[in-house]
Symmetry: D3
Subunit: 254 residues, 6 copies
């Protein structure tokens, strides 16, 4: 089977991650996955939200937005509407929770890492691209903090990336859905995984449809294949910082 | 292993579903799962939201809320705050999407089924109890509509229920977490399934933790066990309406 | 004259007050007045709102809400609309003000008693049922606090209950209007009274109509009759706590 | 007994009503009651709110606001806060309901009369001054409409005015409380009455206090005395329009 | 050329400034410019906004609003809409910024001067009338503070007034546009100037039109002529306070 | 005098305008002015806002936003705050008004051109860069519409660009202020001009300062010099479309 864009069912779209994309943030990337483009930035603030004060731990908070014309049809800005949609809130919570799972928050002290994911062009998979890109931006921000000796070691326990898989109307399983595939899919699943193959998030949804346990297994296989490729891209762009991922944790545990 | 409340790891809490709980709604239940109590109502409105107009299909929309003192500590009302939390939006979207997967929306015409899930007492698992209870309220509302000949047949394709599973700090897998178990869990997963064992939603989250594919398999086994018991409870309380579930669809397909 | 539901014009609907209705709140009741059902809870918080800080006095704040399908037609949630209606605000202010009139706020210290009245089924008289039920929930919460020796005596000066009276299109005066009577009434009056027959609130409204001073007198007679019956119900369910109402105040004054 | 400002307990403050105060509105007055000053305008719009469409009846809607520095301390604008307070909503609803009771809404057709009451200086009694002044503004707006033959007769059934009465800490009953009296009162009551002595609204509140039925009678006597004086002031300023009040209704009924 | 109201192109409308217009504010005026009427008040608060704390300087904040029926057609209140329009925000910012330019904020200490401009009747030029009137209200408030020895000298560096100029469809340049002229103008310019002829604000807008540098010069000439007349009116009403304007600054500089 | 970045006082920062920057919008550019980077898109919608319906004219509406980390310190998103700041509203209104002045709105029919300016990196002059870039995006969108024969001719009457000028603490006049210059400036002026040297907007503000008429003249000279250079950049990137600017209008007028 070939897809609309000529990909095999188990093939990712071309991916690039441009680092140091913006001047001001501690870490920033432009991640491009096919036609999907997301600016991910990591900003470190020297305080935590009220519910964390006194905990001696840090926090990671994520925000997500789309430019009005990131999409085929122009969307009304959430700032103009005066409230965030449920979709936006869901994605923001997902990104934050995912990143928190691979960071040793006790090592960053009472600081907040703000992750901002702004989609400038959307063609499916914006939330997974956001996680994959935000991991790089955050790692680079923390690596810089380490270089400046604001923290002792890089508090990243493992790689983290995300990918979508799905089942189309002909019951074919696909890796990394573009927008037209996503809109037509019976089942849509997002997988967030660590470098050593552990699940952090698994969200599989049948929209007016359902899927069997066997289909689930095949979707997980597809996803794992794609995620290995994403980890390789992350490792390549992280350079020197890549070597420190997972280090501290090992030492601490020994 | 025994749990705080004496249950085995693969044991559900006691469940009751009181039907015709309120006077006005087309369908209404009080579902009690251990100490968790949710009023679920189904209201049928003779129009659909703007994006569905002219589609000749119906829609199912869900809203979820907690009484301020459903919880150990009093929560500020979302109506007083003037906005819904991300958690509430996420749950509302999950309930609506889940129910839509087992209803033939073309058979109900341009009508909206409003599902309201109001938690009057919370002890973990409020979103899964909401889905399990709302399915019964909705089925009874539609069965009444059929009796009144407003629709030709019961447009319910299959049973639908939801349950939580999770992994605690000792890496033990548990079915149907109560609040204290949920708050302490490393991994929390909600499974929404149809009567014939198909997944509608699978949401597994590691909060500052992760889980392996083997653990996932065991969690799915636990969940399926609990869901079979929930389907039995639903069937028992639905009485006559239970027999019509899935009927129409078969005829249509033959 | 007989009413739609067979009552005499000076007859209350059947009333029950179920105490300890919910697990978490310090005090909670389900009050049922005919078909009207309200969950009233009292929560005690160890601080007061900013304008009371340093006053050495407590505060009582009330919130009121209806489930969307408490009514014949489904109502849009105020949380979804993002703001409270004028009617809700008016009722909340009435409940709080009424309860404050019978509590010695200096005896509870800088604490807030949160009263939550959630109407799960509405058939007229929800604000008066809320006051009558909330008085019981609040008294039980404070009685428990006294038992736990967090306060020295029960700071309740007198009983408090509320009832509606009205005048229908045939100029007949009625006690305790149900929804259809209320919707059709020319004059609608809510009376909040203490156990010794003093008025706390009197709100009498002619909707596109008016009433004479003689009619007012007869409405007050009707209301007083009903309120005596409500005090009796409150006394019965309060048990032991009933005996302490008004005690402390007498001692203090002697 | 003499009051702070030298008035007898049953004496109103000096009242003036300046008509045609603003250029644009169909009717407008500046009402001055002692130091309280309110601009009341009546605007007629050729349509009704959605819930009235097709009813062939008109509607009266009222809005109330205070300039930030109408009061001793500057208040934050509700427009800046982004929402109306409960107090404002309560007053708006009271003004609208009161005026609707003396207008034959079927005679104005599907039109809305917007009443705007803007307090430019506050010294107690702003809501009662608003009603008394708004009645004049509205009557003049409708009289002009009649002159322009947009309506056949003046659809005002009777005069309408409002006054406050109260009980102070020494248990003295007072007419027309100024701000310092109001702030210190045990009981505060607003009476809205028609020209022929019928009640339209009666709202009597004990703030952390209560009042007996005998006290209520004396307060009503006081209020009626003051209201007769207010009707005389209204009659004087209305001039020619005064003669038409109540006319049409009589003819119609004969 | 003569204008609709008979004025010459370089003629201001009649202006009056009534001082001590309201009882409560430290300074208050009613400024009347033709048919435009604005209540301007100045309130002094003994604290500054968070971003100024610790600066030992004061702040001036302005708010602007219109009564709903200040205009030909009734406007919806911004308090009812729940948000300020862009136009209102722009005007508020302009008034505050303008006044800050002539006050020595270090001399008032950590205090905020709140300027409230409430338009009760609008006929063009409400923002310029607000600035011209607010300058007088503010000066009188500060003069009173000086008299009460809360500040050492009047911290007003110079006079401040504002006027509009514009170009109509026939390319004629006009001073002080009324509403009908403003609505039809090709170019609309607001000039805010100090007593010694320095610009504080210059905002010239072509609405679907533009203007040459020569036209700009002539507009500035027109504006300067009008502003000199406005300074004279301000000086006349300020009386004794007028003599202290600019004094302190001179002493300080010498 | 030399500036911090080595520029002469009358020198613009380096400018680039990348066209067709995004896939979906009808027109889109990335404009870079020194370190300031703004994505400007033009989207054409086949309807106008309610107040324009039936006018047979089109409309141009602009929205402006900054990424949270476009700035040195992270800003809270306006979508998260739930409302737009006054600054944002002011800028949006300025951009829309400016662009409308050079478009013949009758030629585009009842369509809305949505202009979105999203600042991804800010270093001063974001509003002027937005206007200069948006003009190009809009022109390209309309040129495409003409190519598709949806409109008969390019309805652009002239070029349009904007630049800032200012006066620093040493009374030196500067062209095109970067952020540090802008933050320290006594006077800040934005000039929006058409290709033939007509003013569309002139906004000159003294922040706690003022400026003389002579200074104004020199600032206008500086601005005009910079604007000529901006028109040249626009012309270069517009290519073929550049030749059609102003064409139609000439023909129409002849």
């Amino acid at each position: 089977m070939t897809r609309a864009d000529g990909r095999a069912s188990n093939e990712l779209r071309p991916i690039t991650i441009d680092t140091e994309f913006l001047k001001h943030p501690e870490g920033s990337v432009l991640i491009t996955v096919g036609e999907t483009k997301v600016i991910c930035t990591a900003s470190i603030e020297d305080r935590v939200p009220p519910f964390m004060r006194g905990s001696k731990k840090g926090w990671i908070a994520a925000e997500y937005s789309m430019l009005p014309r990131a999409t085929e049809q122009r969307n009304i800005r959430e700032a103009a509407k005066g409230k965030l949609s449920g979709r936006t809130m869901e994605i923001q919570r997902l990104i934050g929770r995912s990143l928190r799972s691979v960071v040793d928050l006790t090592q960053i002290g009472e600081r907040t890492i703000w992750i901002d994911c702004d989609v400038i062009q959307a063609d499916g998979g914006t939330r997974t691209a956001s996680i994959t890109g935000a991991f790089v931006a955050m790692t680079m921000a923390l690596a810089q903090y380490k270089k400046q000796e604001k923290i002792k070691s890089l508090p990243i326990k493992d790689y983290l990336a995300a990918v979508s898989v799905g089942i189309d109307h002909k019951q074919q399983e696909l890796l990394d859905l573009c927008y037209t595939e996503d809109a037509a899919a019976d089942v849509d699943m997002n997988i967030v995984m660590t470098g050593n193959g552990q699940f952090v998030e698994l969200q599989g949804t049948g929209e007016e449809a359902s899927y069997s346990r066997e289909q689930l297994q095949r979707l997980l296989d597809l996803g794992e294949k794609g995620l290995q490729e994403l980890f390789a891209v992350q490792k390549a762009v992280l350079g020197e910082a890549a070597e420190q991922i997972g280090k501290k944790t090992e030492e601490k545990e020994s």
